[in-house]
């Protein structure tokens, strides 16, 4: 079915997409909660900042990431000094690019769900002895699960499809940063590469179909968002 090289690309794509989404999910949730429930100065600015990777072309995002993570860039220098690592040309860099691109989609979806959570249920939890944090974890969070799932699906799909920022940031290194879209792009650059493009695109679509089916199943099991009297 799949060639060895294709398998390697699929594995890498899943690794990059999975790690990106898993790593950025807590941040996305925190940001969504801030935007949904708190009023503070600079709120709209934060919101705009989060939307940035959506508005600015991916290539620019990739370029800005490169500036930040380059050996003499602000984050790159820190990583080098403290951890002695570099994400350039590494799958970790690809995951960072994917995470940045997925973030706005995840934040919006989660925020939408949090805004829909009835605060009176949180009140009820508080009178029953739950601290603010505990009420959040046991009421707000589970009731926002539909948004978390939707955000995760969107983010994962976006991460699977991420191309422009990734190739600009960490280029196209087989086994490290050559994810499905980048392999597709390579094929697309070659005259007569259409067959390979369609094949690889079909693999992407199959992956996302699996992700969707899983998320729908999860949603059905967890998504008891029915209303109380």
């Amino acid at each position: 079915m799949l060639s060895g090289e294709e398998w390697a690309i699929v594995r890498l794509s899943l690794l990059v997409g999975g790690v990106a989404v898993a790593a950025v999910l807590p941040l996305a949730f925190a940001l969504a909660w801030l935007l949904a429930r708190r009023r503070f100065p600079g709120r709209v600015l934060l919101d705009a900042l989060i939307h940035l990777p959506l508005v600015v072309p991916p290539v620019v995002t990739g370029w800005l990431l490169l500036l930040a993570f380059a050996p003499d860039g602000p984050i790159g220098a820190m990583l080098d000094r403290w951890l002695g690592v570099s994400v350039l040309f590494r799958w970790t860099g690809a995951a960072i690019a994917a995470a940045v691109m997925a973030l706005p989609l995840m934040v919006r979806a989660i925020r939408l769900s949090i805004e829909g959570v009835d605060r009176r249920l949180v009140d009820a939890a508080r009178t029953l002895g739950a601290s603010r944090m505990r009420a959040f974890a046991t009421v707000t969070l589970p009731l926002a699960i539909p948004g978390v799932l939707a955000g995760t699906v969107l983010g994962f799909a976006r991460a699977l499809g991420e191309f422009g920022a990734t190739i600009t940031f960490v280029s196209n290194v087989p086994g490290e940063t050559r994810t499905l879209p980048i392999a597709i792009y390579s094929a697309l650059q070659t005259p007569g590469g259409e067959a390979a493009v369609l094949r690889l695109a079909a693999i992407s679509v199959a992956l996302s179909l699996v992700a969707l089916v899983v998320s729908e199943a999860l949603a059905r099991r967890m998504g008891r968002s029915a209303h109380v009297l």
Binding site: T168, N172, Y185, Q189, P191
Partner: protein, 231 residues
């Protein structure tokens, strides 16, 4: 009034062709409309039947692909310009001039060599051919940072993400952040040529005018000024 001709041109020709279009307009002609993108995207648009007038490709392969479908006006294909491949390093590099291809391997240290994707992008394919011919490819094959295009490869070197890169002489000339540390002998790779041709379906009389202007001494002077080699 007649609409000006639409020219689909490889992104790496952007500055030179903008200048040429300006010069052409200064002669009292309608300024051609220029659309820059990757040659692959432009060639596909032409193949799909999009109504364009001229095509300037970054390599012969994509022009061949269009020609194979009989979409070029017969006899209109010509070589517009040529280019050279160079090795660059960040401006502040302590490297001396690289004389042999194997010097690249040594100079790279544990870094990567930035170049346009050697599997697909024209500049990358030329670079690979040269490295193969000079015997350095086996040592470098898995040390490549394959960028989306030459400009992205250039950016990797400018930012110090890669200690060395292979780009066109035109790109190297335009960047203040890098220095040329080596040049590939022209014989080490297939000739780098930017072909131009008129699209068969074009009905715009000005298209041929602009094509001729580009190939005229005045047009070639502009290209030369931007660092291109002209026949």
């Amino acid at each position: 009034a007649q609409r000006p001709p639409l020219v689909l041109a490889a992104a790496s020709m952007q500055e030179a062709l903008e200048d040429a279009a300006g010069a052409y307009a200064a002669r009292g002609k309608a300024r051609p409309v220029l659309s820059f993108a990757a040659s692959s995207a432009l060639a596909r648009q032409i193949v799909a039947g999009a109504p364009a007038d001229l095509f300037v490709s970054a390599d012969e392969a994509w022009m061949d692909a269009v020609e194979a479908r009989r979409l070029l006006a017969p006899g209109s294909r010509a070589t517009l310009a040529g280019n050279r491949l160079v090795v660059i390093a960040p401006r502040a590099t302590r490297l001396g001039a690289l004389r042999r291809a194997r010097d690249i391997v040594a100079a790279l240290g544990d870094g990567r060599l930035a170049m346009a994707d050697p599997a697909s992008v024209p500049a990358g394919r030329y670079g690979r051919a040269a490295l193969q011919r000079l015997g350095a490819w086996p040592a470098l094959a898995d040390r490549i940072a394959a960028a989306e295009n030459v400009r992205a490869a250039l950016a990797l070197v400018e930012r110090g993400a890669a200690p060395l890169g292979i780009v066109y002489a035109t790109d190297a000339q335009a960047s203040r952040r890098v220095r040329v540390v080596g040049r590939f002998p022209p014989a080490s790779h297939p000739p780098i040529r930017y072909p131009v041709a008129r699209i068969a379906a074009s009905r715009n009389p000005e298209a041929e005018g602009f094509r001729c202007f580009l190939l005229s001494p005045a047009g070639r002077a502009i290209l030369r000024r931007h660092g291109f080699a002209v026949p």
